[in-house]
Amino acid sequence: MKFVTKFAPAGFILAVLLFTGCATTSVTRTATDEVIDLSGRWNDTDSRLTAEYMVSSMLSGGWLGRFTSEEGRDPVVIVGSVRNRSSEHIDANTFIKDIERELVNSGRVVFVAAGDAREEIRAEREDQQSNATLESAAALAAETGADYMMQGVITSQTDAIEGKSATLYKVDMELIDLENNQKVWIDAKQFKKLVERKKNSW
């Protein structure tokens, strides 16, 4: 009994340590437009908000009115590359898709596929020439040529001190006339993220 009394506290501590070692998993569903910042790095919300801003800015530029009045039709736009020159691994494809979605949904420009998607479509069209019926096969050399290409670059600057870090993200986008290389629209969006980590302490 004396032994039990003497070692009971140790047993209690051991039990607490064992129980605190048990891990549980919890999952919470959230809306995709809910802003969740966990690490402070570039995330889906940054991508979506930047894409919305850029497309809105681009469509409100003077170039669109000039083109439609001169050509009598909506311009055809293709999204080119968005280079990542930041200090984070940013999936540029997600950002490009966000821009493409905003462009298509705006209904004010004609949007054509670029990059790998275009190659895949061309391969399918080639295949149809041999394997599809004459009536249903897509015609060759009937692609819609783009009038403008949208390009961009993502950069970041990080400043850190005493467990706090501030990262300034800057996304520069521009729209280039494919016929004469003229830049008809340029804009930049910047935002800063401040991350505070509880630093090592005594």
Partner: protein, 509 residues
């Protein structure tokens, strides 16, 4: 009569400071520890304390496990990287506990890089990087100051040089996979980490010195590593390959500066730096980056502390008093009022170079020697420089922890001996034995944390070669004097006038 340190409240300990080093602390109020000891361990059965110390001393987590390296390190030196990686993988759970996860990811991540498994290497090195970042939020001292523990029981949060170089090797992984944009992301992270390092330990030491818990003053060693030439070299090549020549120029200037502003790290002849632009005659620029040797290991320096009345003596096994003085700043202290008979040890890790046996590395194209590589970075020197930044904290908390443990131990020994003295000669003998057992047990709990990744290289050497665009058979030879140590066959490689023509070669001996 308790054998705790007895002294007057205002009788300050001499203020020992290392003259030539970054350290140390002085204890201005040793009796504070007595109070802490009494507060932390009230009424604990002395036999239980000694038994606990013996159990802790035998606990594997109190010592750094090195078993996993007995075979894997020689294998890596011989180029059997996949086999070495297999041993590391099998050691998970045994030699690598969860607290050692950073070490596991670093060791395996580097071996996968050497084995050419670049994607896997990046996964592992990314896990190491994330874990290091997470551990930044954890206290580095409170846990270690606890009774019976030492740093081995804590999460290994990585050395700063490991955190920096892991990005360099992730960049090389991305380059090998043809993803130069991601490679550049990694290189940019190096500079961010160097910026953070600038103030990292200064802030910690300032915080400690100004805290109410401060029992002495830690001296900050000023950071003098803020520009990594190896990372700049890769950055320059990446910028040049994409045609950003002005950015390449900035990297080149930063590399040049390193030899003047960080002369203690770049203490060798500056090599020819890469051209800022491809040559106008249409030649291809080929860059060879070679790694050799292995990064430093940690060894323990053990300092034994013994007291005679009024004096505290510091000794190191096999070392002279001068050696102790050079490393600690003093080898004895005059402390009026201190009782004799204290005996305990403290351990500090120190870095021991493993260097490279290769003193000459040459490149051959189609069997013809085209270049001898120049030293670009002594990675082991960078490791030492960043290691020394943290040292005041390591030493400071070690002394605090050891002192706390020994105060508790002495209190326990006194109480036991008092009880046993009443039981005649047998009791006296038993008391003596218990005292010796307590000394041994507490000493055994005080082990230096020797954890450090084993598979980073020691030296980086480079050369830039201008050749006609085309395909060449590339070999890199590693020489020691007149002996050819290793010839690495890089096979047929095609070089173009534009883009990145980088060959990474390595031999870890």
């Amino acid at each position: 009569m308790s054998r705790n340190l007895q002294r007057n409240e205002d009788c300050l300990l001499n203020k020992p400071r290392i003259q030539n080093g970054p350290i140390i602390t002085h204890f201005s109020r040793v009796n504070v520890f007595t109070a802490i000891g009494a507060a932390v361990f009230p009424g604990i059965n002395v036999f239980a304390v000694i038994a606990a110390a013996l159990i802790l001393a035998s606990c594997a987590s109190m010592k750094t496990s090195q078993n996993q390296y007995e075979e894997s390190v020689p294998m890596a030196r011989e180029g059997a990287y996949a086999s070495a990686a297999g041993i590391i993988r099998e050691s998970k759970g045994e030699d690598y506990k969860e607290k050692d996860r950073v070490l596991y990811y670093l060791d395996l991540g580097m071996l996968q890089h050497w084995a050419g498994n670049y994607e896997r290497s990046n996964e592992l090195l990314s896990k190491a990087e994330l874990a290091i970042e997470e551990l930044y939020t954890k206290s580095i001292s409170k846990g270690a100051a606890s009774w019976g523990l030492n740093d081995n029981a804590l999460d290994y949060s990585g050395e700063d040089y490991e955190d920096i170089y892991l990005n360099v090797f992730k960049a090389l992984n991305y380059i090998a996979m043809g993803d130069e944009e991601s490679a550049h992301v990694e290189i940019r992270r190096v500079q961010i980490k160097l910026d953070i390092l600038e103030d990292k330990y200064k802030d910690l030491i300032d915080d400690y010195n100004s805290s109410s818990e401060a029992e002495g003053e830690l001296v900050y060693r000023e950071n003098q590593f803020h520009n990594d030439v190896l990372a700049r070299y890769l950055s320059l090549l990446l910028y040049r390959a994409e045609g950003s020549y002005d950015d390449a120029r900035i990297d080149s200037e930063a590399m040049n500066e390193a030899w003047s502003t960080q002369a203690h790290i770049y203490n060798f002849e500056k090599p020819d730096l890469p051209a800022l632009k491809p040559p106008e005659n249409g030649s291809a620029l080929v860059n060879i980056v070679s790694f050799s040797g292995l990064s430093p290991v940690k060894l323990a320096d053990t300092i034994y502390i013994n007291t005679t009345p009024g004096m505290v003596w510091l000794t190191m096994t096999g070392q002279s008093d001068d050696y102790v003085t050079d490393n600690v700043g003093f080898n004895f202290l005059v402390i009026p009022g201190v009782n004799g008979g204290f005996h305990y040890k403290i351990q500090f890790p120190r870095l021991e170079s493993r260097r490279s046996e290769a003193d000459r590395i040459v490149v051959k194209f189609d069997g013809r020697e085209v270049a001898e590589l120049d030293l670009l970075e002594k990675m082991e020197v960078v490791a030492r420089e960043t290691f020394l930044l943290k040292r005041p904290l390591t030493v400071g908390k070690t002394i605090i922890r050891a002192t706390l443990k020994n105060i508790a131990k002495e209190a326990g020994k006194d109480a036991v001996q008092k009880e046993l003295n009443d039981q005649g000669l047998a009791g006296l003998f038993a008391g003596l034995l218990v005292g010796v057992a307590a000394d041994v047990a507490v000493d055994a709990t005080e082990n230096a944390d020797l954890r450090i990744s084993q598979f980073f290289p020691s030296y980086a050497k480079t050369a830039e070669i201008s050749v006609l665009p085309g395909t060449y058979h590339v070999e890199v030879e590693y020489w020691n004097g007149q002996s050819l140590m290793e010839r690495i066959d890089h096979g047929e490689r095609t070089f173009s006038a534009d883009g990145l023509n980088l060959i990474e070669s390595y031999m870890l001996r």
